[in-house]
Homo-oligomer: 350 residues x 2
């Protein structure tokens, strides 16, 4: 059976969205040959940079140069659309909503949360790289997805494209996850590593921003919100929790002094911002705290922008996944991986 190509509606067109388009277009022939996967993007909607729609599939090849030249999708663009995002999600014909806008803690995941609800209510699959909706309404959204017989996947929300949720769903389905913990935020880990090398906090943060790894609002990183959103999603997905970020005790790294760093190094330890989630009387609990990690612990050598997750189960000894220096294509890969899974499910009528 030759199935129809998967039709995607994308919300947000920042770094991850652009990398995704680049993988699927410039590298398209190679990519679809390699994987047999060749989706169509039928629309891209942004908050401040216009929108494009083409039911035959957008012209991905010319999209990035045009978008960069005009700093957005402008009315002169041959595929320009004046639809608003809500209407597009509720009325256009697509298979998967790909939500790539950025985390908003203040707005408790909105407006992305409403976008995702609308799509699921229509029975459309959703792939989200945006942590907000999953952190604030994981349980609700999964129930809504189940009820409408569709999938809500979100691999890229934690550790970029590192297969964390995919692993739990497939390779660990025969055992029960009891605890997860790890270094989940690249920016703070980068800053702590630079401080160990002697750089003051402010300069280290500035470097992270110049590298483009910090969240749009750096306080999300520094104050631990990003780590909290991630451990919240992990607690809800792995431990069947129903937590939201404000319910999770958290620390940031802004209170850490050069002296704290040095004292720890002299004792053979590194300070790391660690998110943990575990079962307490059969209920999920979580926290984000700065911990002193001895040099010989597997977390200690995860430096710079690296991240790590330790998964403890009932049947296996602890499993640790380390991701060294992730880049943009890692996040895009997380999205692609989810799309591949939906494509597989579609083709096999599962």
């Amino acid at each position: 059976m030759k199935a129809e190509p998967l039709r995607l509606l994308m919300i947000g067109f920042g770094n991850v969205g652009q990398k995704l388009v680049s993988i699927l277009s410039i590298e398209k022939n190679q990519y679809s040959q390699l994987t047999g996967f060749s989706p169509q993007i039928i629309g891209i909607f942004t908050r401040q940079h216009g929108a494009v729609v083409n039911y035959d599939g957008l012209d991905l090849w010319n999209m990035l140069p045009l978008y960069k030249k005009h700093e957005g999708f402008i009315p002169a663009h041959p595929e320009y659309s004046a639809l608003d995002t809500n209407t597009a999600i509720n009325e256009l014909d697509y298979d998967v909503l790909v939500e790539l806008s950025t985390l908003s803690i203040e707005n408790r995941g909105e407006p992305a949360l409403s976008y995702i609800r609308s799509a699921l209510k229509r029975g459309k699959h959703v792939v989200s790289a945006n942590k907000g909706p999953l952190a604030f309404a994981y349980r609700d959204l999964q129930i809504l997805a189940d009820r409408n017989n569709c999938f809500l996947l979100h691999e890229a929300t934690v550790m970029d494209g590192t297969p964390v949720f995919n692993l739990a769903r497939t390779a660990l389905k025969g055992c029960r996850i009891m605890r997860v913990s790890g270094i989940l935020n690249s920016t703070t880990n980068f800053i702590l590593t630079r401080m160990e090398e002697g750089l003051p906090f402010d300069q280290a943060l500035q470097q992270a921003q110049q590298m483009g790894i910090a969240e749009a609002d750096p306080k999300y990183d520094i104050e631990g919100w990003d780590s909290t959103a991630k451990i919240c999603i992990l607690a809800n997905a792995f431990l069947y929790g129903d937590l939201t970020p404000p319910q999770i005790p958290k620390e940031g790294i802004s209170g850490i002094s050069d002296r704290d760093i040095k004292t720890n190094l002299l004792q053979g330890k590194r300070l790391k911002l660690i998110g943990s989630a575990w079962l307490e009387n059969d209920r999920a609990a979580a926290r984000v705290v700065v911990e002193s990690i001895p040099f010989d612990h597997p977390f200690a050598n995860v430096k710079g922008t690296g991240s790590v997750l330790q998964i403890e189960t009932d049947l296996m000894s602890p499993l640790i996944i380390v991701h060294l220096s992730p880049g943009l294509s890692d996040s895009a890969f997380g999205v692609i991986n989810d799309l591949l899974e939906i494509d597989f499910i579609n083709k096999n009528n599962l």
Copy 2:
């Protein structure tokens, strides 16, 4: 649809087989409730300790005490079978051959290799924890499996139950693996760690044997054959190679002196036995060598019986999977995981 339970024919009944029976029997109610997975073992055949068959499913509850009491399956056992293993594989009615006998390098994977061929030719799925057949005939066996529309899975052959092959098959299917490397043998890693702590080689080996972690023939570990068999399977599975262990350059650890260990420690390094496989002019190549690993490398903190694998792909930055101090249930879990996948495929007619 309520599918029939998966019917298993087991070859070998050592530590892993016994643990598997224990998980599926003593913990059976809980396990099948948790996973919805409730297979029947219809036969167990051993090389030197007799065989049992029961088409209604063997009595797992009483099996281990009886087997231990009589040091094998004896003719007085109510389910005793006088069939020989070849006949059983060729004539009994089962869904999956579970091959759990031990690695044989001298016999190039035989007799397990022939057992697996016979089962695949009959269109039976195979789950193997035995490295031999996969290391010596990976490509042939996979072709035979494809041709007969059945699966040959082998998660437990590398890093016990750590989802390595499962990960590549599902979570990494959207990218191309370019290189894998890691610490693959527990016994040698344990010995090297103990030598760093000051123990002589012989005593460290003796400890490993007392702990039951060494291969039946310890020279398989010490001379690097076990690591070679594993990197061979990885090269063939991940890099589409067609290698056999004797083609792979290898080193063991018996030439390492206390002084080598100390010299490296003073330089901030640890000696580790590293298996690597990579693409060379689009062809898989592999080797097993002792390498000096700096303290701050992610491999350096994998001590004792731990193992680690680094996977490099075309789309993602390197991914590292660490398994700390694996136990017997880890290997059994690898087998269960493969069975769960076959069960899923069966139930959904994939």
